[in-house]
């Protein structure tokens, strides 16, 4: 149990309890690196958040640059309907449609052997099976 004059140290936003709130800290390790999420600090305002970020994420010289962002200012998207809708979206992936099964069915219908992509000629049977 924390003493009464000590702000709640539990998880979650603490604004309103001693006026503390979470800030997210991003750090760059080397010039040219992307900013990566380092962690968070709890602070009463952006000024002290910057000091705490410095002491927690840069006091050993491990950061070239920090971004300190009030967590409340971050737009969070986590709705599955938005991010992971239930329909097949494989055609949006760089690999495109999964064609293997459709091609196999078409070959079975026409009796044609598989052709090596780009060779232009009849495919030689592969000794090690079909990796596609």
């Amino acid at each position: 149990m924390l003493p009464p004059d000590r702000p709640d140290a539990g998880p979650g936003p603490r604004a309103g309890q001693g006026g503390l709130e979470p800030f997210e800290v991003f750090r760059q390790e080397r010039e040219g690196d992307p900013m990566r999420h380092g962690g968070s600090v709890i602070a009463p305002d952006p000024t002290l958040a910057s000091h705490y970020a410095r002491e927690l994420y840069a006091r050993r010289g491990e950061s070239l640059r920090l971004w300190v962002v009030r967590r409340a200012d971050i737009v969070e998207l986590d709705d599955p309907d938005l991010l992971n809708p239930p329909l097949d979206r494989s055609y949006k992936k760089p690999g495109g449609f999964v064609m293997r099964d459709k091609l196999a069915q078409a070959r079975a219908r026409t009796g044609q052997p598989k052709r090596v992509a780009g060779s232009g000629g009849p495919a030689k049977p592969r000794p090690d099976g079909d990796p596609t």
Partner: protein, 258 residues
Amino acid sequence: MSGPAPAHGAATASLLLALADDDFVLGFADSEWTGIAPHLEEDVAMSSMAQDELGHASAYYGLLAKLTGRDPDEIAYDRPAAAFRHCRLVDHGRGDWARTMARRWLYDTANAVRLEALAQSTDRSLAELVVKVRREESYHLAHDEAWIERLANHPGEPRRRLIEALDLVGPDAPSVLAPLADEPALLASGVQPVGGSELQALWLERLEPVLVRTGLRLPAPAAAALDPVTARSGHGSDFEALWTEFTFVRRLDPVATW
């Protein structure tokens, strides 16, 4: 290494000792907050800044050791409490959070003025060190000011405690910049380019905007805080306790190899 003429060695040594002891004592006193600061982040920040002060002290003791041919650890840990030459301001114990922040703010503002002058010291090794120390100190000062404003702008207990703290430690604050007994020699050699009285005036100017913004006042200086001798001697019971603590392990076995 181009330094001052050897004749000025003793005066330079007294300046280095004052600088080192100030940061050493403040660093130790502030490190008492480790584990009990107002919240976790402040705990880490305060502990880290206390370590910074010990780091600065270590660097000053290092210069002093080179100048006097002594061992820095001996200077730091093997002196009786009465031989320390830290100022009256940091002789006050940490007290509550408001007193710690008042002590830090008054010290860091005064120290900033002192270091700004010493960056032009004719003692090259001191000037080079001070340039590095200042880069770190500017962040300490910004942290202090953020806290002073927070406490001052929160009516009720925070503001009341801050005012009590300023009333207690404020009269001793000018001791940071009180002229050293060796000041004439330090000014003559240029090791210390600006005298204590002038530094004190600059320091008060520096405090003014924050005092005006917050409606706080700094109490009149104590006579003992302005006198070259009493500003840095006659330590109180707070420091006796601190000294007992920070020399404890060393005194168990002074010749142990670490």
